[in-house]
């Protein structure tokens, strides 16, 4: 039995769209008939998030977005979005996909974080360097009350997904204040009282474990702030907050943003 004689192409494409992107890529190696179906737009469009067109049109670069939607095949678009975060919301937030599952991944850039004293140049400075993902990152000059908050709507995140929030930062050589006092992290739905707080040192001395900060591989470090389960996007706004109330003077941290991405396996 040749499956392509038994099943019409639209059935095959429906079945493939019920598998994973990885399986679809594998299937294209099985036989020529599968190849054309497994690489087709009808399959890969289902792997992209359902509102991908909206998100891309909201991107900061109009020419890119229309180019992406019209000239790339859906499969190419999928892989493109997996490896090239696009900037949306006027260059303030970045959007990308997780390759394995096609779930959405956002990074809220420094400009739209709520940073205590962030607008006072004696405390925080804004830097622009071309290699950065966002037009601006923020650098701490000195502050006692260290507080950063990100807010994001759960309805724009992928449903039925466990998300974790990560602070993306790096230190300058002359940093201080982050090695002795732990930062409090809190990730919760706005208006709820269910807070699962945690705390960690951002800059622990090398012999102290646990070393919770992870190198992201692009020159930045990240630390997990907390996680939450997004059921149907109807939990309102999720608040990701970190705070160190001011016992010690802190200096020398550069923050790119706070990233929300799916987290698997606890």
């Amino acid at each position: 039995m040749d499956i392509t004689f038994v099943l019409p192409a639209q059935c095959i494409s429906y079945i493939i769209s019920l598998t994973t992107p990885r399986d679809a890529s594998r299937l294209s190696l099985a036989c020529p008939a599968f190849k054309s179906t497994a690489d087709s737009d009808s399959v890969w469009e289902k792997f992209l998030p359902s509102d991908y067109k909206e998100i891309i049109s909201n991107s900061s670069s109009i020419s890119a977005s229309s180019l992406m939607i019209t000239s790339l095949s859906k499969k190419d678009l999928y892989f493109y979005l997996c490896h090239n975060p696009i900037l949306i919301n006027n260059h303030t937030t970045s959007f990308s996909l997780v390759q394995e599952t096609g779930k959405k991944c956002y990074m809220v850039g420094a400009r739209v974080l709520s940073i205590a004293w962030g607008d006072s140049p004696q405390y925080w400075n804004w830097l622009s360097l071309r290699e950065f993902r966002f037009p601006e990152v923020v650098k701490l000059r000195e502050v006692w009350w260290f507080e950063i908050i990100a807010r994001i709507e759960t309805r724009i995140l992928s449903f039925k997904t466990n998300y974790a929030a990560y602070l993306v930062f790096k230190f300058v050589k002359s940093r201080q204040g982050f090695d002795a006092r732990p930062i409090e992290f809190d990730v919760y739905f706005e208006g709820s009282n269910n807070h699962k707080r945690r705390s960690a040192l951002l800059d622990p001395p090398t012999n102290v474990s646990p070393q919770l900060s992870q190198d992201r591989g692009d020159g930045w470090t990240e630390i997990e702030m907390g996680d939450f389960f997004n059921e149907n996007g109807d939990d309102g706004t999720v608040v990701c907050r970190l705070c160190e109330p001011g016992s010690v003077q802190k200096r020398g941290i550069i923050t790119q943003g706070i990233e929300l991405r799916p987290k698997y396996g606890k």
Binding site: C11, I15, T20, F34, S61, M68, F79, Q99, R130
Partner: protein, 421 residues
């Protein structure tokens, strides 16, 4: 009549039946409420009034054979009963789809033709679960698919987006195998081939590249045409099926490639930023198409000839690796290219492209000839290579490409004098 007899006359006697005919001609009658569960049958009954008698039996689509029909009717019979709970339905469904893969496929097809969406969903999900996690060989086994991708297609380099060292190794092996395949093909053609030596001097090459006034169309001689055709054939034989076959198609292919390359480039340079490199490439592109059948009988000194020969072979091998996958690579290269977007140097962009292609293990096998040509940025060549892959032209052209790719960065970096030969 006794009471028992009266009780025997049950309401079922009053049930109405629909007549269905399958493609093989056999006709059967089915309880109306069961059959009406299928949207297609429902449509036929209501809109066309069919099915009420044997003569007006509803003809079912060809994909519904009697065996499948009976399965589908079992499904409908259970599900159209209003009383069952979700749990009961689920448990029925799980038992229902326990059948071999072939029947599952037939059932999906039959249910689809009857527009019975819940059953299509059920069977499709079952098939998806079967497919998940299997390798292509296993899939071919399960579905009894012919293994008819060509050797070349199977040896396409894997997309190594996660920079997995195993994939890198696999791609290297594939590249080696492809090379072997090509050698084999070459041996087959060797009697009918004379090795064409590119005998142009370096200065001539330079002049050509700088837009010398050679009129390609005018100097086409039949001898050259034949040689060029043979060259093309040789290269063609070892290319994957989807490769572009004719000159005309090549030009179109080139244009497409140019556009796609631009698209790819655009993405990485954050759109709107046109690098010098791109403009130069576009110019080169056009010239290449024009000079496809150029005369190649010029003089060249033997030392350079040796060098060129070696480089050109290397180039030809690289150029012959699969194009669409390269394009995919270029378009999907991402995680390695993050700082790229804001790079101002045009050649920097291409270098990164090329570097990343290497890093991602895309069939790069470094050539080990120690000469001046290898001093230049081999990785640069890879990137340029990928974009100009469809040139299956003469050795001369390939040599000029190699030269070009050295020239361009040299130009951009103001080191043109370093190329004095």
């Amino acid at each position: 009549m006794s009471e028992v007899d009266m009780a025997v006359i049950k309401p079922e006697m009053m049930k109405s039946y629909i007549w269905l005919q399958t493609a093989d001609g056999s006709i059967q009658q089915v309880e109306q409420e069961v059959a009406m569960f299928c949207p297609l049958i429902c449509q036929e009954v209501i809109q066309k009034g069919m099915g009420s008698s044997k003569n007006y039996a509803i003809s079912l689509p060809q994909r519904v054979n009697p065996a499948m029909l009976s399965l589908i009717l079992d499904y409908c019979r259970f599900h159209q009963v209003p009383g069952s709970s979700n749990k009961e339905r689920k448990s029925f469904d799980e038992k229902f789809i326990r059948m071999d893969t072939k029947r599952l496929c037939e059932l999906t097809s039959a249910a689809d033709s009857l527009q019975l969406k819940p059953l299509v969903d059920l069977t499709s999900r079952a098939l998806a679960r079967i497919i998940e996690g299997k390798t292509p060989e296993e899939i071919r086994e399960i579905f009894h698919l012919p293994d008819d991708l060509t050797e070349e297609e199977k040896l396409e380099p894997l997309k190594n987006t996660t920079d997995d060292p195993r994939i890198r190794l696999l791609n290297r092996l594939y590249a080696k195998k492809r090379k072997e395949l090509k050698e084999r093909e070459k041996l087959k053609n060797v009697e009918s081939e004379e090795e064409r030596v590119d005998e142009r001097s370096v200065d001539d090459l330079l002049q050509f590249i700088n837009g010398g006034e050679r009129d390609s169309k005018g100097t086409k001689s039949s001898k050259n045409k034949k040689k060029n055709q043979r060259k093309k054939d040789q290269l063609k034989d070892t290319c994957p099926i989807e490769s572009i076959k004719t000159d005309k198609q090549e030009s179109n292919g080139l244009n497409f490639v140019c556009h796609s390359a631009e698209v790819g480039n655009k993405f990485s340079t954050d759109l709107g930023e046109t690098s010098n490199m791109q403009n130069m490439e576009d110019g080169i592109f056009v010239r290449k198409v024009d000079f496809d059948d150029v005369d190649i009988d010029d003089e060249i000194d033997p030392a350079l000839k040796e060098k060129l020969d070696r480089e050109v072979e290397d180039f030809a091998r690289r150029l012959n690796s699969d194009w669409p996958e390269r394009m995919q690579e270029i378009l999907s290269l991402g995680h390695d290219m993050k700082p790229l977007r804001h790079s101002t140097k045009g050649n920097g962009t291409i270098r990164r492209y090329a570097k990343d292609q290497i890093r991602s293990g895309n069939d790069f096998v470094p050539s080990d000839q120690p000469n001046g040509w290898n001093n230049f940025d081999q990785m640069l060549t890879e990137g340029v290579c990928g974009i100009y892959r469809s040139s299956k032209g003469t050795k001369f052209l390939q040599a000029s490409l190699a030269l070009l790719s050295k020239l361009v960065p040299a130009c951009l970096e103001g080191k043109f004098s370093s190329f004095k030969h």
